[in-house]
Amino acid sequence: MKNIRNFCIIAHIDHGKSTLADRLLEITHTVSARDSQAQVLDDMDLERERGITIKSHAIQMDYLHEGVMYKLNLIDTPGHVDFSYEVSRSIAACEGALLIVDATQGIQAQTISNLYLALDHDLEIIPVLNKIDLDAAMPEEVKDQIVDLIGCDRDDIIEASGKTGYGIEGILEAIVSRIPAPSGSVDEPLQALIFDSVFNSFRGIISYFRIMNGEVKKGDFVKFFATGKEYHADEIGVLKLKPEPKDKLSAGDVGYIISGIKTSKEVKVGDTITHVNKPCLKAIDGFENVKPMVFAGVYPIDADDYEELRSSIEKLQLNDASLTFEPESSMALGFGFRCGFLGLLHMEIIQERLDREFNMDVITTVPNVSYKAYTTKGEMIEVHNPSSLPDPNHLEHIEEPYITAHIITKSEYLGGIMTLCIEKRGVIKNQVYLTSDRIELTFELPLGEIVIDFYDKLKSISKGYASFDYFQSGYKTAKLIRLEILLNAEPVDALSTLIHHDNAYSFGKRICEKLKELIPRQQFDIAIQAAIGSKIISRETVKAVRKDVTAKCYGGDITRKRKLLDKQKKGKKRMRQVGNVEVPQSAFLAVLKLD
């Protein structure tokens, strides 16, 4: 056990975690030249296309240092704020963390929040100043920031470049010398923490664990603490680039288990695995259930696919414990699910994964936060969907969730960011100069204003330089009203939103205009109206198509014509009929696309 080191790589988004991981894997020959590609751990198509890490990835390396062979278990984590729960779970399986800081960007919001997560678990922090190869690097300045932040020795900071490979050897040495070997004892009963699980269509559910105490052998009869279910360990092993089966794993090891589990409900990330015959006395402290920040309806495009959607979401939930769902129904869309997400990126990713991995084409409705509605009888109802708001006559008041946001920015963008936050009904709480030209702002903001387009706006105002982190800080009474959207006089529940009274008019107008762009012309006029109660506050019309026939099929080119009509048909398939109007997928998310 003394030759094992378990560590994760944490940082702000894009500071170079996955690229640095590539270098570590390379130098330790974990990845052969043949398998080598940039950000090799980002193995989901989506991750590769977007160039970001979405899921944590664990991998084991062998490292020979001063004649001793070490087993290093590395976990690469995502940097985006939506996925910080992935970081916290990875941290629970480690004794140390590489804190990467981009030398051109300096300390950013998630550098701080992820550092605190690691410190909460008493991890040994190795600060790494990355991208030192870039001309724009400001090593001395950023080192000052790091020393200020963690209170480490200036010499403890390792300069490195994930691009050129500079400093990588030093990082490996530091991992061995500074991060403690796992404690725990092989002789005690088995106690292993499940920190992740994935669904594999051939093997069923694969759980990733870290053994705290004891050991487990292939074929052992094991029990999952929380569910009480018992299984045979059909296969156990370690996570190399491909899973590598082993006969035995012991305290300190990170590995995987396949035990013939088919349904996602049976595995709870954060659960403890132990032996049936010689169980440990208590479970390891698991993870706090992550609380979703935004909710949206997810409906199958084809109503017949409801059950299939359910099983697809269940499977996704298995390797994404942060995804929650409950059945709901909509007048407009029929049966679907109210899903909880960590943020908009998360929602977008889930929608895309449903499509790619399960071939489930879905409609996602306007996202909203969770409100507390107080009735005149004094009851409190948690509302995840504008349409389940109690009748206004019985409604005493509504409270909406607030967050405390920390924004780090260069001082030149201060004005623009202030304006943005105030527009979003924010109240400034604090303002600290980190250096002469970097400021940390603390704002109280309604979460509902943040989930829509705050992040994109912040990025564009600050030319990408401001970073932002937040946590939920409580509820406050708000003047919220329900804005209904009507298509040809029929209210469409899936398009209704809760909106602050003061913004309702301008919002109603903009949403009608956007819907007009998104709803294709049909064989009759379509009236799009925004209403508060019975009062119409805005109206647009999508004019009827008068003619849908192309004249020419020239020179016998029937193929082109057929393909065109085929496309037309497929386009229609991706639409949902609401009343007599065909509404495309994109229209349900019109709110997100307002300029």
Binding site: Q523, V545, R546, K547, D548, V549, T550, A551, K552, C553, Y554, G555, G556, D557, I558, T559, K561, R562, L564, L565, D566, Q568, K569, K570, K572, K573
Partner: protein, 378 residues
Amino acid sequence: MAGIYIHIPYCHQKCHYCNFYSSVSKKSKPAFVRSLLKEIELQKAYLHQEIISTIYFGGGTPTQLNTFEIEQIIQHLYQHYNISGKAEITLEANPDDLTQEKIIELSETDINRLSLGIQSFHNTDLEYLNRSHSANQAIEAIKTAQRHQFANLSIDLIYGIPTLSNQAWIDNIQTAIDLGIQHISAYCLTVEAGTALDVFIRKGKMPAIDEEKASQQFEILMDVLYKNNFIHYEISNFCKQGFISQHNSNYWKQQKYLGLGPSAHSYNLVSRQWNVSNITNYIQSVEEKNIVPFEIESLTLIQQYDEYILTGLRTIWGVDEIEILSKYGREMYDYFRKQIELFIQKAWIERQGTIYTLTKQGKYFADGIASELFITSD
């Protein structure tokens, strides 16, 4: 009943709306004709010695060839194919090429039908479209052709041109009627991606197409021609009794055809193929390798069904449910019956016996209806 289509890929100038394959540089013409003659021999087997009942010279602008070249091609076809004695032989022609002299020459060939690219009898429209002829040239060409025994004349007209008022459109149709034209192909101006027109409209240099007006002009077209005893036998095609275009009808009636020349399409019931759209490449391959590069698509049963719907619905012959049942099977038949019901209710489709055709109102939505009846693969 099989047809041969010959693509002549040259034009005097490029019309703004055009996305057909053609070139304004004529340097390669002699070599092209040589290659075409060779392709005629190479493709002999495609139609399996079937009797050829129609030949159609399209393009491009076939009148960019001299009459000797045209005659050479026709003779070559006679030599290598089984051409019916009563074959309909059509030549597309542009008014600016049709001098009296040329018309006389053409009248001495076996060509028995001319299809004239008139588009409009108003110069403002012709300028908008960048046509290479004037309204007067158009009328002159028609009259001259008629004087020289062309008794089966077709003209192309375009409506929905932003410069074309409804009254001017009525004038255009009336002019054609007064001239005694037997066949009219009337197309709604469509802005194809990548054409000059597309670019000009997007840059705001030319007015965009007004769909409402286009639809009014479609209505005018039908009203005026119906009153004058024209048969509306295909969405864009109207003719006097007895003057249906045999060649084009083959396309709608799912008959075999062989296409020769760059970009030409061929069809043999189970597959479609099309020649490379590149004159240089075409000539080189034929000269050096004795082959024409082409792409081919074999048609699945679903695609065959889709095409039957798409082509059939556009015509007065319609779609026959017995044909669907016997050729495509019960499942597709049931699907068809289910899907078509809505359109019958809307009175866009009319059913007579086992035959389904578009009503006048339905003709406005032919694409939408066909696509709803499609069975999409995957």
